[in-house]
């Protein structure tokens, strides 16, 4: 009865031959049933949705481009990228951890069990990789960066690799994910309230971990300041590192060149890369 206002193809191929001729169709538009969507603290929510085979194939570092319902009388026109926080293959579930900062994320916060989450994904190369032979890794995240770093930490744990998780936050209440991270490794909270999140202190903590041989690889997300620090120490000690980067997006798939970030390779060559297509995970030593 109601007119179709926005076109959208069926999310699963409907016709014979309706499938990519060049590569597998690895991403899809899907409406994923919301199972829960709870506040973690004053600013962050945790959403669990029912996945599909394609969406559940998401790997650490990949993201979904989400079209939330509008939180007000206006419309939302662009999707919002959200890293995958957890993939629970056994139960066919996907989880997101997100901070409510604007219309999109506030719209996402209005979803209730029984509603659908409108996603496109999984997207991005999702190239979080634990280097061959690493025994211990350090993940350093601030804010929602912690959501992005969760899957790689979990993967490390599954492979029997030690994880030290440095969780930076404004206050103890906002240092989320401690539960999750304490299941996969050692948690260190770095807070603004007690000054432990200051760069000098984080540097001390990191140097100590390096000294203790607890830092065979670095992973970071969510703070330019901490990223720069990890990059410096990684370079100094030849520790390979990866960073998950953010940029405003439109397509999330590669064609639009909206989500550019600047990089510089070891030989001094500068270039622009697309976060959605070339990343969102990049070599920490090349990131700026």
């Amino acid at each position: 009865m109601a007119a179709t206002i926005f076109a959208s193809a069926p999310t699963t191929p409907a016709k014979p031959g309706y499938c990519a001729s060049r590569a597998d169709i690895t991403a899809e538009e899907a409406l994923l049933p919301v199972l829960s969507n709870e506040w973690v603290n004053d600013e962050y929510k945790h959403m669990i949705v029912q996945g599909t085979p394609k969406t559940l194939a998401a790997v650490p570092g990949q993201f979904f481009n989400i079209l939330p319902p509008s939180p007000d009388a206006g419309d939302l026109w662009l999707r919002r990228p959200q890293s995958i926080y957890q993939v629970d293959k056994a139960n066919g579930r996907l989880e997101f951890l997100y901070k409510c900062v604007g219309r999109g994320t506030n719209g996402m916060a209005t979803l209730k069990p029984g509603d659908n989450l409108d996603v496109v994904g999984p997207l991005g190369k999702g190239a979080f990789e634990i280097p061959e032979g690493a025994k211990n890794i350090v993940v350093l995240g601030r804010g929602v960066g912690l959501a992005t770093l969760a899957p790689i930490s979990q993967l490390a744990k599954e492979r029997g690799i030690g994880v030290t998780a440095l969780l930076s936050a404004r206050s103890p209440e906002l240092a989320m994910g401690a539960d999750l991270y304490s299941k996969v490794g050692t948690v260190v909270k770095l807070l603004d309230t007690d000054g432990t999140s200051g760069v000098e202190n984080v540097e001390k903590v990191l140097r100590q971990l390096i000294a203790e041989k607890k830092a065979d690889a670095f992973f970071t997300c969510g703070s330019a300041r901490l990223q720069a620090l990890m990059k410096k120490l990684g370079k100094e000690h030849d520790i390979s590192g990866q960073v998950a980067m953010e940029q405003v997006m439109a397509c999330g798939l590669g064609p639009c060149y909206v989500c550019i970030r600047g990089f510089e390779t070891a030989d001094g060559h500068k270039d622009l890369r697309r976060v959605c297509f070339d990343g969102p995970v990049f070599n920490l030593q090349e990131a700026l």
Binding site: A7, A20, R22, E29, V248, L253, C256, Y257, V258, L272
Partner: protein, 316 residues
């Protein structure tokens, strides 16, 4: 089964729906079967590498989006050597899109992009944030005639001139493009706009001005498609704010032979396929055997006298 094919001049497309330049690359094969599209339209390419405009490159509007990407490109050589072969892995005809800052370079670009595998050249003479003499030739009929003329002499491929909705007299520009030898018109590029962030007091995108796309532009561009299709004999390709099958139909009734979809691919990457299926189903329901019969099929009656119109039943 509707005959969904349309003819854009000498070029036959399997259906009238294709992507708009800048919203499409073969990377979309990750979400859909690109062989279902009417054509593949490449991102605009210029001679040399260009970084494009500063970030942020897009912002959301109340009724769509504004962008200023600034035509970043890896240059014509990369296009010939890497992108054309990639596009050729798919069956729909490839439409190259080119840009240049003067008429001479435009002609040379047209020549250089006329390589096997390219079926037509869309000339982006309407980049909204450029000057009429420097990439936005389509703001005026004289600039348009000159640049199209030079391009016409440089290539035998069909030329699709992409017009600007910011021109004062779009039909004059359309006629100039036709007179200079364009084989089709794409109507239109984005509308020049501004959004200010009232928290920061700064323009919402890095380049200050940007091009508006999405549903807010449809009634404006549709009017231009109607005006242009009445003013020229060459086919018109409609482009602006198309988000559903009904919009494709509305554009065709207004005079479009085919359409291009930009913004909507960002929202729903598979939307073009839904539109093709939707138009097909609509034609079947309405008894149209050929989708091409829709082109220009808007019914025009003499304007009714106001008093008489005010005695008619609603919708009658």
């Amino acid at each position: 089964m509707t005959d969904m094919s349309v003819k854009v001049g000498a070029l036959t497309l399997a259906n009238p729906v294709m992507p708009a330049s800048g919203s499409f690359s073969v990377d979309l094969a990750k979400v859909m079967d690109l062989n279902r599209l009417g054509a593949l339209v490449a991102k605009t390419v210029s001679r040399e590498y260009r970084t494009g405009n500063p970030a942020p490159r897009v912002a959301e509007l109340e009724t769509g989006m504004i962008n200023s990407i600034g035509l970043p490109t890896k240059g014509i050589k990369y296009f010939q050597e890497h992108q054309v072969p990639e596009f050729r892995e798919f069956t729909p005809p490839l439409i190259a899109s080119i840009s240049a800052e003067d008429a001479e370079d435009f002609a040379n670009m047209a020549r250089d992009v006329s390589v096997p595998g390219v079926s037509a050249i869309e000339i982006n003479i309407s980049c909204p944030t450029r000057a009429p003499g420097g990439g936005n030739f389509a703001l005026h009929e004289d600039h348009t005639y000159k640049v199209v003329k030079g391009i016409r002499e440089a290539t035998d491929l069909p030329i699709w001139a992409k017009l600007s909705p910011n021109a004062g007299d779009v039909t004059a520009v359309a006629q100039a493009a036709e007179a200079a030898g364009a084989n089709a018109l794409t109507v239109a590029n984005t509308i020049l706009g501004l959004k200010i962030n009232i928290d920061s007091f700064k323009p919402a995108i890095g380049n200050k001005f940007g091009g508006i796309s999405g549903p807010g532009t449809k009634p404006i561009i549709l009017r231009m498609v109607y005006q242009c299709s009445k003013a020229v004999k060459i086919p018109v390709i409609g482009c602006g704010g198309i988000v559903k099958a009904e919009d494709v139909i509305e554009y065709m009734l207004a005079g479009a032979t085919a359409v291009q979809v930009g913004y909507m691919t960002f929202r729903n990457p598979t939307a073009m396929i839904a539109m093709i299926d939707g138009v097909d189903a609509w034609c079947e329901k309405k008894g149209f055997k050929k989708v091409s019969d829709l082109t220009g099929a808007m019914i025009e009656e003499k304007l009714m006298d106001t008093f008489t119109s005010a005695t008619m039943p609603i919708g009658g």
